[in-house]
Symmetry: C2
Subunit: 363 residues, 2 copies
C-alpha cells in the first residue's frame, strides 16, 4: 500500500499545489481516491498512477476544493480503456448527503454519458453536524426522484450507527472502511481503513518432512483448521506462523476537532490530517473549522498513530525545497515536530507536497 | 484589445493543454472570459492576466470541458480584493439555458458564498438546436423557484430574435455582443463582439492657430457638432479626422457548421474557430459535431475574416515547438494554410497553444 498526494493545498489551487486529492494505491494496483478537487484529473496524469485503476472515490465533505474536480474525472476515467472491460466496470463513490445531486446535476446538464456504471453511497450526517445557519441556504440536498443517471447502478444511504459511533461504509476484500464525524463548518468526515489479518506463513519444509505434499491439507492448515493425516492429528499452530496484522490508515477531511476518530483507531500505521495554518493562527484556524500542526499532532498521538502526514496547507506555505525557510511548509513541519518531541512521542511526522509518495509499512 | 488563450484542448485537459478558456482583454484592462473548463483558474494564475479584472464570462455550451472550471473560478475570483470594492462588483455570466442551474447547484451544495454579485443571462436556444435524443436524459434545465443564490443580483432570459437571426446579449461601453447558433451535439453558440466607431482625432494645432484653447468647444467638435466661435461657424469635418472603425472579434464554441455567423460578421479582425481534428478525419469530426482546419478556414473566408486562429485541438496534437513534426498542431496549421492558399485568400492564420497572446489590430 502506498499513498500518493495529488493535491495538498487548501481553498484554491495554485501552479505549485493542487487542491485536495489523495490516492491510496493497494497492493493489487487498484486505487482509491480521497477527495477530488479541481484539476485532480491533471494531477493524476502527472503522477505515477493510472487513472483506469481507480475503483473507489471517497469525498470527505462538499466544499468545492474537495469535489469540484469530480465531474471532470468521472468523464475521463474510462478514456482509452477496452469497451468490453468497461461493461463490467463499476466505480463506487462515497460521500456526504448532497453528493449524488452534485454528480447527477453536473453530469446531466453537461450531457456526459459515462462508459461504466457508478454506485453512490451517501453518508447521512447526524443532526448535530449541521451548523446553526444551515437553512440560510434554501438547498434541497436530495435528488428529485426522476433525476436518475442512466449509468447509476445502485444508490445507498448510510445512516449513523450509535453502537459503533460512526458509519460503516464497506467490508470487502479483507478491507473495512468506517467514517467518523469531524467538526467543521459543514458536515465533514474522516475515513478509517482497516485491513484484516493476513494468515501466517505455512512451514512447508516441516510438512514435507512428515510426508505431506502441497494440496488441500496445506490450505486447511493455513485456514487454521486441525487436520488428520495417516492417523495423526495435525494442529495448525504447529505448522503456521503468527498471523500478520493488517494495516490501518486514517485519511481525514477538514476539521478543527477530529476526536471521534478515537472510536475506531487502534495504532494507525498512517494518519493523514490537515494542518491549514501555523500554531500562532490557531484562533483564526478554528474559526474556519481547521487545524494547526499542534492540533493535528495532538489527536494523532492520542490515537497512537505511528506516522502522521500533514496536508491541506494554506497556499501561503510554499512546498519545501532546498531553499526553504520560515514561512514555507517547513514552518508547519517544525511546529508539529516540536509538539511531538515535547510529548516524548516517537511518532514520525512529515508534511506532504504534491506527488509525494509514502509507503505504508506493516506493523 | 488582445486575446489570451488559456486552454486550447478539446475533451480533457493534459499537462500541456488546458481545456477551453479564452480571455479577451480590453484596452481598459478589463477581461472577458469565453468558456471556463476545469483548471481555468490555475491557467489564469499562470498567465499575464489578473483574475480580479474579469468582468464578464461567456459560456458557449454546457459540455464539461467548457464549464466545469466555472464554480471554482467564481469561488476564487474575488481573492485578495478590497472588500469595499467588492460591494459594488457585479460579474455578468452569459450562456445557454441550464447554466443558471449549474451555477446555483454547484455553489449551494458546496456552500460557497461569493463576495460579489452575479447577473446570469441565459440564452434560450431555438427549438431546432436540440438534438433528437434530447429527452433521453430527464433533466430539468430550469431552476426551482426557491433555489436562488443569495448573491444573484438579476436573472435574464434572452430569446432568439428572428429579425437579427440571433441573440442580442449586450450593448454597453461602445461594445455590442451577439450570439449565433452553431450546429453541435447540444445547443452551442458563437459570440460576435463588435466595437463601435471611435471619434477621429482632433486637429489641435489648427484649432489653436485660430485662437481656440482646449475646453468645451474641443469636446463638441469631437462629437461632430458644428460650433460658433467669435462669429465664425466651425464645421467638425474641418477639424476632426475620420472616425476610427471599431474592431470585430468572433469567438466560437464547438461546431460542425457555423454558417449562421454570416448574419453578423462584416470583416472580422479576429475569427477564433475550433479545429478538433485533421482533414482526413472529417467524417468522425462531423459525427461528434466538430470541425477540421479546412471547415474552419472555409467559413472564416466566407465571413471575410482577416485573421483566423484555430483552437480546441484534440489532445493528440501536441503544441508546436522547435521539434514539431507531422502529428503535432503543425498538421492542423498546415492544412488550414493549404486551404487558404488554394482559395487565393490572404487571410492570416495561426494555431493557438496555451498562454498564446494575440493582439487584435484595428482595420
Amino acid at each position: 500500500m502506498k499513498l500518493v498526494f495529488l493535491g495538498t493545498a487548501s481553498a484554491f489551487p495554485t501552479p505549485t499545489r493542487g487542491v485536495s486529492c489523495t490516492a491510496l494505491q493497494h497492493d493489487d494496483g487498484s486505487v482509491w481516491l480521497f477527495d477530488c478537487g479541481e484539476g485532480s484529473q491533471i494531477q493524476l496524469q502527472k503522477s505515477t498512477l493510472k487513472i483506469g485503476k481507480i475503483s473507489k472515490i471517497f469525498i470527505t465533505h462538499l466544499h468545492g476544493d474537495h469535489m469540484f474536480g469530480l465531474p471532470g474525472l468521472l468523464c475521463t476515467l474510462a478514456n482509452g480503456q477496452d469497451p468490453k472491460m468497461l461493461e463490467a466496470k463499476i466505480i463506487d463513490i462515497y460521500g456526504p448527503h448532497g453528493l449524488r445531486k452534485f454528480i447527477a446535476t453536473t453530469l446531466s446538464l453537461s450531457r456526459s454519458p459515462l462508459a461504466y456504471r457508478i454506485r453512490v453511497f451517501e453518508i447521512i450526517p447526524r443532526s448535530d453536524q449541521y451548523p446553526e445557519n444551515w437553512n440560510d441556504w434554501e438547498v434541497d440536498h436530495s435528488l428529485e426522484e426522476r433525476f436518475k443517471l442512466p449509468q447509476e447502478q445502485e444508490y445507498n444511504k448510510i445512516e449513523y450507527c450509535s453502537k459503533i459511533k460512526g458509519w460503516k461504509l464497506m467490508d470487502q476484500n479483507n478491507l473495512v472502511v468506517h467514517a467518523a464525524a469531524l467538526e467543521h463548518r459543514i458536515p465533514s468526515f474522516g475515513f478509517h481503513i482497516h485491513e484484516g489479518e493476513t494468515p501466517g506463513q505455512l512451514n512447508v519444509a516441516k510438512l514435507q518432512e512428515i510426508g505431506i505434499k502441497p494440496g488441500p491439507l496445506f490450505g486447511k492448515l493455513k485456514q487454521r483448521k486441525t487436520v488428520e493425516f495417516e492417523g495423526k492429528t495435525l494442529k495448525p499452530e504447529d505448522f503456521v506462523g503468527p498471523s500478520i496484522p493488517g494495516r490501518e490508515v486514517v485519511i481525514l477531511g477538514d476539521t478543527c476537532n477530529s476526536d471521534e476518530l478515537l472510536n475506531f483507531t487502534k495504532c494507525p500505521d498512517m494518519f493523514v490530517h490537515e494542518a491549514t495554518m501555523e500554531n500562532s493562527l490557531q484562533e483564526k484556524c478554528i474559526e474556519y473549522g481547521h487545524s494547526t500542526p499542534k492540533m493535528a499532532a495532538e489527536i494523532a498521538i492520542k490515537c497512537g498513530a505511528k506516522f502522521l502526514v500533514l496536508f491541506h496547507l494554506s497556499p501561503r506555505y510554499k512546498p519545501i525545497d532546498d531553499n526553504s525557510e520560515d514561512g514555507s511548509a517547513m514552518t508547519i513541519l517544525k511546529e508539529a515536530q516540536e509538539y511531538i518531541s515535547s510529548k516524548n512521542s516517537n511518532m514520525k511526522v512529515d508534511v506532504a507536497h504534491d506527488f509525494k509518495e509514502v509507503v505504508i509499512i506493516r506493523g
